[in-house]
């Protein structure tokens, strides 16, 4: 029998007992829909977070801190307290000072720079500007220095030029109109930042706006500034501080070549920890978030998988009944020279077809539902998260779900198909 004939025969066989096929298809439909929806939510949130995390910095940036052997955490209770080191400074932070941070100095910068593959190391100073001013009034703003090449999600314009000698800044979109501009007109305009030195003297610095940031989930209301601006601001801010205090910071942003492989990054991290530092890339931070999301998705996928497991028994049952009903027909086909292998294929195709229709309808319905939910959500409870498409259905996932379910259906069909292929034509054709 030709493949096209097998497919056509299997297809028309499937439709012979319409109600029974429909019920089995519905069972698969539910499983396919569940899996597609949970994966759609997962992909949607992940791609959104990817862009959000892009706002935190570039992928070739590593945040380096001193490894605190006294840090509270699993297993730390039993370990001995760290010995006093006169060269090691600490500072308390957090509301009640319960978070103790080890303070780094320029000595650490040179140590870090000496590690292979570190291309730059910049101290991350906490900058506190007093105000920001455009053509109108003054507004409060928090600043964040941008490290590495920027991947921030821009509404208009582009990110700051890290290495640019010009003072550059990107602003959250809600600052644009208070500063007296629109999203388009603000690009390239100068704005003024007011900052007070340790001596209590307020000065101003002018910076050029290069872009307007998409409203974000992480680091929502901070403006990003380039190195030139950050250095100038810190110089003002630290004027009057004792030199030891001015030269203290809690973390270092180091860059490494973008060409590094994951293994090379691991080697780099090991080199850092050998010197008492711990490095965390954007990817590491991303992975922490993604692990949580993945666990949630897996739990939901389990529900889908259970639905599919139940559905595959439905397929087995449906086909067993079909084999029983078509005993004579199978006998006739065998008598007329159809090989057991072809009979097996015929029933397996029928099973895979049931899987195909169930999954295709399930995936299709999920996509439709996703579209409706996305529309409702972006206008409703996700209004504050522009750029978030709650459900995303990449073609690869859709195809993978359909193919996966067809495979499950095929496997479920093998048992009845095997029974069909073993039918004795004599037994089947014997008069009852």
């Amino acid at each position: 029998m030709k493949s096209i004939d097998l497919l056509q025969t299997a297809s028309s066989n499937m439709l012979r007992s319409k109600a029974r096929t429909l019920l089995t298809v519905i069972a698969i439909f539910i499983g396919a829909m569940t899996i597609t929806l949970t994966n759609g939510i997962g992909t949607g949130i992940k791609s959104y977070l990817n862009r959000q995390i892009g706002n935190l910095g570039a992928t070739n940036v590593m945040m380096i801190q001193l490894t605190d052997k006294n840090a509270p955490g699993p297993g730390s209770a039993s370990s001995a307290p760290a010995a006093y080191n006169p060269q090691q400074k600490t500072q308390a932070s957090g509301m009640r000072g319960e978070v103790r941070q080890l303070v780094m100095t320029s000595r650490d910068i040179s140590t870090i720079k000496s590690i292979p593959n570190i291309t730059s190391a910049t101290p991350e100073h906490v900058l506190s500007a007093d105000y920001i001013m455009g053509t109108g009034g003054k507004y409060q703003l928090s600043l964040q220095q941008q490290f590495g090449s920027t991947t921030a999600d821009m509404l208009t314009g582009r990110g700051v030029g890290i290495a640019s000698a010009q003072n550059q800044i990107t602003l959250p979109d809600n600052y644009v109109s208070p500063l007296g501009y629109t999203d388009q007109t603000i690009i390239g305009k100068p704005i003024t930042i007011g900052i007070t030195s340790a001596e209590g003297k307020q000065s101003t610095v002018v910076a050029t706006v290069t872009g307007v940031q998409q409203k974000t989930l992480i680091g929502a209301s901070a403006a990003f500034i380039n190195t030139a601006l950050a250095n100038q601001l810190y110089a003002i801010q630290s004027t009057g501080l004792p030199s030891a205090t001015a030269d203290s910071f809690s973390s270092v942003e180091a860059t490494f070549p973008t060409s590094l492989t994951d293994a090379q990054i691991t080697t780099l991290k090991n080199a850092l920890s050998a010197k008492g530092y711990s490095g965390q890339t954007i990817k590491d931070r991303e992975n922490t978030v993604f692990t949580v999301i993945n666990v949630i998705i897996i739990v939901f996928d389990m529900f889908g998988a259970i639905a599919l497991l139940a559905a595959s028994f439905g397929i087995i049952n449906t086909l067993f009944m079909a084999v029983q009903e078509r005993t004579k027909e199978i006998g006739l086909m065998k008598a007329l020279g159809m090989s057991p292998k072809r009979i097996f294929t015929l029933f397996s195709i029928e099973a895979a077809l049931i899987g195909f229709w169930g999954s295709a309808l399930g995936v299709g319905f999920a996509a439709l539902l996703g579209k409706v939910i996305n529309t409702v959500a972006t206008k409703g409870f996700l209004k504050d998260f522009p750029g978030l498409t709650l459900l995303t259905f990449p073609l690869t996932t859709v195809v993978a779900v359909i193919v996966g379910i067809m495979l499950i259906a095929f496997l479920a069909g093998t048992l009845p198909a095997f029974r069909a292929s073993r039918k004795d034509p004599i037994e089947a054709l014997r008069y009852e």
């Binding site: 029998m1 030709k2 004939d5 025969t9 012979r16 004579k328 027909e329 006998g331 006739l332 086909m333 065998k334 008598a335 007329l336 020279g337 159809m338 090989s339 057991p340 072809r342 034509p425 004599i426 054709l429 014997r430 008069y431």
Partner: protein, 228 residues
């Protein structure tokens, strides 16, 4: 292709030991190409088993079936399937038509199994439906046909692959005498005009009498030849 079928000491046993039942007991016979042979016997005599064995649908417990002198037990499953598909035609008492399918689709089944293309098999189907005078029913559902028409569709299906041998198991058993006569005439016409070997299992004495040779079977044994 001309086909001769022979059996050599064929025995078919069902069950084991004390309860063993001999459906066929040491049967040796020869069927020449172009012959018409009736297998006659009461129900349970083993006549259907004999036909199934001759048609290579069943394997003997002992002895051998020879097709053109070649031992069928030495042929592979695929060879047997191909032989049945290309050279044998089957007509059953209970028709075994797919009731919900069209006459055309029922008739083309052997060619579909053989992997013949749609255009070729449809052309062939119209030819054989003409031969059984049912070409106007090609598009009808098999379920809507009368008994006699159904059996003629079966004959058309048996003819579609230009068989050398047609095995007919009680072809008129489910038909009234008038329609039975039509079907009977059709089968013998094929035997006469196209030289197709006919092997008919029947307990109808008239049909048996029209065959060139009669094989009487009783308790799995051949009891005599030539008489009714």
């Amino acid at each position: 292709m001309k086909i001769t079928i022979a059996t050599k000491n064929v025995t078919k046993t069902y069950g084991k030991g004390e309860a063993a039942l001999k459906a066929l007991d040491n049967i040796s016979l020869d069927i020449k190409a172009g012959e018409s042979v009736a297998i006659i016997g009461k129900s349970g005599s083993g006549k259907s088993t004999l036909m199934h064995t001759l048609a290579l649908l069943d394997k003997p417990s002992k002895g051998s079936v020879l097709v053109n002198g070649e031992d069928a037990s030495r042929m592979s499953g695929r060879q047997l399937d191909t032989l049945r598909n290309k050279s044998y035609g089957f007509v059953f008492q209970q028709f075994f038509l797919n009731a919900n399918d069209t006459v055309l689709n029922n008739v083309i089944l052997p060619l579909k199994i053989a992997g013949v293309g749609r255009r070729e098999r449809n052309k062939r189907a119209i030819e054989v439906l003409k031969a059984v005078e049912l070409e106007d029913k090609a598009g009808s559902k098999a379920a809507n046909l009368s008994g006699g028409q159904k059996q003629r569709v079966c004959i058309a299906r048996a003819l579609i692959n230009n068989p050398s041998v047609i095995f007919a198991d009680e072809p008129t058993g489910n038909l009234d005498s008038v329609t039975g006569k039509t079907v009977e005439d059709l089968l013998f016409k094929l035997n006469r005009e196209q030289g197709i070997t006919l092997v008919i299992v029947t307990h109808d004495k008239d049909i048996a009498a029209r065959c060139g040779r009669q094989l009487h079977i009783k308790d799995g044994k051949l009891t005599g030849r030539g008489e009714i």
